[in-house]
């Protein structure tokens, strides 16, 4: 990523230095004219390209580092030597937790719909 950013900057510098624009809008080699200084807009654009390239690279690297647990320690368990298998399961014997959750979103929606009808008339 960083190399791409540097490459783009070098390319832009080469273009801006290599050619100069004549009064009639024609492009002529810079040898015939003294080199013009790089315009402020170009400089800002170059810096923006480099910063965004670095930022993108850093973002993806940080994600990869985080998910690969590069800077955190590893936690290990001692293997269990003997296990009595249950219900024919060779990997899990059904040690589990279960839950039935209420659909609050649907409930709230149904309450909203019912509310005007349920309001007793005065």
């Amino acid at each position: 990523m960083c190399l791409i950013g540097i490459g783009i900057v070098c390319f832009l510098i080469t273009i801006t230095h290599g050619f100069a624009r004549t009064a009639g809008g024609m492009v002529a080699p810079a040898d015939s004219f003294p080199p013009e200084p790089i315009a402020l807009g170009w400089k800002i654009a170059m810096i923006a390209v480099v910063v965004s390239a670095l930022g993108t690279g850093l973002y993806f690297s940080a994600r990869r580092w985080r998910s690969s647990n590069l800077f955190d320690r590893q936690y290990r368990f001692a293997p269990v030597a003997q296990v009595a298998l249950r219900l024919g399961g060779t990997k899990s014997g059904g040690s589990m937790a279960t839950i039935v959750f209420v659909d609050r979103a649907a409930n709230a929606e149904s309450l909203k719909i019912r509310k005007p009808e349920e309001t007793p008339p005065r």
Binding site: R63, R66, S67, S68, N69, L70, D72, R73, Q74, Y75, R76, F77, A78, P79, V80, A81, Q82, V83, A84, L85, R86, L87, G88, G89, T90, K91, S92, G93, G94, S95, M96, A97, T98, I99, V100, F101, V102, D103, R104, A105
Partner: protein
Amino acid sequence: MKCPSCLGTLSTPTPQCPHCKLTLRRLDVKFGAVPRHSSLLTDRTGRLPAREVKTLRDLLRSFNGKFPQSLFSVFLTNQLPGSIWEYTFWMANRGRFGNVHTEAGDNFDLLLGIEVEARSAALVIGYGLERYLDERDLERALAGASGAFSVADFARGIRICVELLTERMKNVVKDLEETAQTAAAKVDPL
């Protein structure tokens, strides 16, 4: 220990449930072929946005980085021929989530199954983790996620569940290490 079908208590290791006669083979007949699934996160309902899927896969990968023996897998599904408890137990044994050779006491995997329309979920652990986590730990993790599940925010619920279990498992290992260090210090005071 509970039977994943009738939720009756299993007091002793048994090849079939003494209450409802459930076996893994019966579940094979009930559920048929193992559906296609990925090792970390499978969403057969299409409820999770692609961006969330990516973030959750990163989180589950990070879990595996912290606990190299354990693979935390999540499965979202709908319209099952049985309950999510039976299905999650069946998938934990028949699915190919982690290393297929990690069986019995070497299996430290976790599987969270969510049935979106039936609004139910089950969290199953492999035999290896039974010594370190009990059913109350799993219940706490699911209870923590239930608020998000209730408002159909499954991504947040899964995240909470994974984070709660990560903390619990970290503490279990740290406690074991401290106990081992204390015991070693008592044996060898120098």
